[in-house]
Symmetry: D2
Amino acid sequence: MTLRVGVLGTGMIGQDHIRRLTQVLSGVDVVAVNDIDRARAATAAPKGAEVFDTPKALINSDKVDAVVICSWGPAHEEQLLDCIAAGKPVFCEKPLVTSEAAARRVIAAEVAHGTRLVQVGFMRRFDADYRRLKKVIDGGSLGAPLMYHSTHRNASVPEGLYTSDMPLNDTLVHDADISRWLLEDEVAAVEVRVPRRNTRGKDLRDPVMVLLHMGSGAIVDVEISVNIAYGYDIRGEVSCENGVAALPNRPAVVVSDQYGIRQAIPEDWRERFIDAYDQEFREWIVAAGQGTATGPSTWDGYAATLVGDAALRAVDSGAREAITMIEKPALYGKAAARAA
Amino acid sequence: MTLRVGVLGTGMIGQDHIRRLTQVLSGVDVVAVNDIDRARAATAAPKGAEVFDTPKALINSDKVDAVVICSWGPAHEEQLLDCIAAGKPVFCEKPLVTSEAAARRVIAAEVAHGTRLVQVGFMRRFDADYRRLKKVIDGGSLGAPLMYHSTHRNASVPEGLYTSDMPLNDTLVHDADISRWLLEDEVAAVEVRVPRRNTRGKDLRDPVMVLLHMGSGAIVDVEISVNIAYGYDIRGEVSCENGVAALPNRPAVVVSDQYGIRQAIPEDWRERFIDAYDQEFREWIVAAGQGTATGPSTWDGYAATLVGDAALRAVDSGAREAITMIEKPALYGKAAARAA
Amino acid sequence: MTLRVGVLGTGMIGQDHIRRLTQVLSGVDVVAVNDIDRARAATAAPKGAEVFDTPKALINSDKVDAVVICSWGPAHEEQLLDCIAAGKPVFCEKPLVTSEAAARRVIAAEVAHGTRLVQVGFMRRFDADYRRLKKVIDGGSLGAPLMYHSTHRNASVPEGLYTSDMPLNDTLVHDADISRWLLEDEVAAVEVRVPRRNTRGKDLRDPVMVLLHMGSGAIVDVEISVNIAYGYDIRGEVSCENGVAALPNRPAVVVSDQYGIRQAIPEDWRERFIDAYDQEFREWIVAAGQGTATGPSTWDGYAATLVGDAALRAVDSGAREAITMIEKPALYGKAAARAA
Amino acid sequence: MTLRVGVLGTGMIGQDHIRRLTQVLSGVDVVAVNDIDRARAATAAPKGAEVFDTPKALINSDKVDAVVICSWGPAHEEQLLDCIAAGKPVFCEKPLVTSEAAARRVIAAEVAHGTRLVQVGFMRRFDADYRRLKKVIDGGSLGAPLMYHSTHRNASVPEGLYTSDMPLNDTLVHDADISRWLLEDEVAAVEVRVPRRNTRGKDLRDPVMVLLHMGSGAIVDVEISVNIAYGYDIRGEVSCENGVAALPNRPAVVVSDQYGIRQAIPEDWRERFIDAYDQEFREWIVAAGQGTATGPSTWDGYAATLVGDAALRAVDSGAREAITMIEKPALYGKAAARAA
Ligand SMILES: [Mg+2]
Ligand SMILES: [Mg+2]
Ligand SMILES: [Mg+2]
Ligand SMILES: [Mg+2]
């Protein structure tokens, strides 16, 4: 009853997930790996795992019950379609795919298959703090949520590799997804404003301010700062009709010393979300063992793709860029209520 | 050497300032009052103070060294011009005046007079917390300020009296002024977005989200919520190049009981800013005793008027409404550096 | 390579550990159970586990690689000695045993065996917050620890079942152990003071204040309050030569509503330490799989027994009750440095 | 109606009070000064104030309505008795006097006079935070107070000048007084324990731990650390029957930077209690203007003297040193209820 997993892509995130699946979590074995760099795959393969020559061979192997996709984005569509064709549960790191059309093809394939097979790697939904926040909002004692202030700060990004589009089509995806999930709503339109530039990032467009206009009329404002030096700081506050609720501080020793009364800040997303990644896979393993998927879906990946596309349009146009979604297939649950 | 003050307008705020000037502060006496309702003025007059029939008579009386204007907004322009004509220092509650043209006339008169006489009632600049925050930003260790998140929440507003324009032309004035002061910059343009409505306020446009585009490119985003029930909650956070600084929590006993680990929130602006009001007048008394004014100026009142006007235009147009200011008279200091 | 575990005692804590071992943790199976109430054992037994008639039969079964003792305290000595005789790793819930003499017999047996086999259930050492606190102290930047303020508050205790001795010989054990671990020191003497009584507990001796005089001279003061109603609140602060370090608050949504700015408090030890219990067993499984034990040892259980005994003497005598320990066997590491 | 004040003693604290009385507060003038060092008195004298040759001459001058004693402790008794003989209100910095016998002589004189004239300089009672804390306790929602944890930390003390007795007969006085006031109770006995020494203070007895056994049975435990380097940190927490209440943090900007999420700590008592000192005199001026005194009384100074004496006995004896008070004169209010 141990889930036999094949991993596609053995770069940094792939290696981390292999570690997680082999050393941290139970009920799962990594039995197969593949990478465009075969030597890297061989190095990353845990003892006893087979190194496959192609993604398709791995996906279709009888050894493999379920697949984890950690390859680069452009490869995702084909790998996802192959998994669906093989009827195998698949965990896909973000981005789901790299275009709206591709997202719609994956949706069509999964809908044709008839049951969910895909879980997308939006790990924030598995973070205990975000779950606590959602529970408070869902409890209803604060009334309807009207605004959500989301703050997304990175200490630094790799110069040269991280481009000015990436705050909007890469980093923003987490804020977009968590906003949809927290507010149980879709993003109807996107605006982007560009504040005074942070000189630490040279010519990089940083910070950016994004407004997500939700279907209900609630507004999400996002600060994305990617070179803020002091740490990886993820904050969120929901302003409701008669109260507000905010993400807790991360637990950290309260030290009183020459620098004041202070608490440490996580250095990076690994430190901040390590437990969320574990929980994300814990729940995936259970669902995959039953031949299906729960958690963030192909639909959520599609929605995130649309938000990223709209954000890129919005930063160019300066205008409010509307998002038009296809009708939501029943497979992905009922459409968001657009309360007003 | 006691400053002899005349108070114009003895409504709620006028009465509170009379209390402050007679019972809390030193070096000052209230010797004259005037109100459109003479009986109200008589009741509010402290022992020994004369009740004047007209604002002009009070302003021009030899008994009166300096004037405090607490009348309604439309009366301010004439009273201010009379004070300047009489060469008397004057404290003017907000709004300075009710139109851009009026503000320019007051500026012209004061410039012609040659020294500052007017202090406008933007009390937040005298609040110890805001001063601490400014000191940190000015210290420079966090780098340039890029975004300022300002949160302005009222437990409730009087139904019927408080209209949908007032978040923008009344409440916003404090956030606009404190943003200009904290960032040492002017507002170049204003945008307004209207989130899902708070049903507690019925048809009232509440909350509103305001974006102030500062001359430097820094963006200020303001949440104004005026029926949020839980308290009067004023927050602010400046996001800089390599760190952020936030207003402190108000001091309040940390109680651990059946409701959690908790601290009380101020009920209203009187509780929150009571010390700021005292300090505002403390500094006014010193300057007025020297025949002049420091603190928020006619220029600051003019700027606030422009922001309010632009915000009203912006909520109608949905667009970015630019602000065009006259050249800043030397009397009001040097123009804001527009660093970019 | 799955560790096959037998569980002795299937009451509340035994059932919880069975759940943990079967549903939460990996690398482990519960293959055997025993309880003085055979029907209860049968009900608690996971699928496929054998119900043994006696502890000894379970301990000596070839099926069983390692043992978890959750029986009542007076049964622990014999079960521990049987485990050691069988050379099997054993996790023993607190109390290790119920007398100093018994503790010394278990030590003697384990020392004769030559390697560690016993881990005692002091779960606080596995709590992420306490570990963060220890890391800060160990880092040395605050200088030597001089005082440790430990606060141990329970919302309530079961009336009638929880006696006036239990704050000292049951509840205190956790503060004593964590003090020894944090400060890397032994308790040299104990004093107890009894404050004004909490009327919620009727005649119960509650709260109590305990002073632990550590070998180094550091003083630990403990507040034990067991009927404080508002929650389960575990706090700790180490006062050092040039700074202090405190346990973090538990992560909890920061809600601003009519009760203030507030965060929830755990209801009980299950909620507070659920992750610590998991981690405690995670580390035990690794060591037991290697035929040994790490974590809190028989020596630590012996020390806790001595502190409880001394506290009971101290509450009667009102005096400082010294603790005399046997020489520390090398098996348990080097003796605590008694820096002064 | 301006209160004409004479100041005895123009050292550091005397100079600070002269500044306060002349520059900060209203309704008061400093018209006379005296110091054992006449040149120092002349320098410290505000414009127009007379420098007196002797304390008695100042006290008895018709120019002087009320007296502020800032001379050294051994001079207080005679100056207080002279003030009482002259029927003049007097503010006396701590210590009231330097022996129990002297305290009783001052009490006797004031009781014979028939109305209160003396206010002792226990400024914490005027601190807004402590007042908020007392209000919560007095509100009664938390039930009876059972323990009070008081933390008194100084960054440093002057080497050589500050002796090992001073934590107990000088620093402790504030914790003792605030405990009596918060709990509305007397100290019945004192114990002192001496933890491991802070090497920063060389041979200085630092820190010390003091237990105050209150009449009601409530226990106050005090940490006094006088060389803790990181700041001046005054904390307090009252543990009650069904909840706890703690002093708020001082308001300070919340900075997130490379040192963490942090708030500054006051450097010294001047910074921490500057507002309390102002308020202390504000209330004194009002009472003195009416020819009497409110606030901390001769009785409170007497109680503090007894606690300091008992603490010195206790550190030598290692035992619980009881305090026996004379019957409380009606002039000082009713005796503390000894609820149990
Ligand atoms: Mg992810
Ligand atoms: Mg104002
Ligand atoms: Mg335990
Ligand atoms: Mg004092």
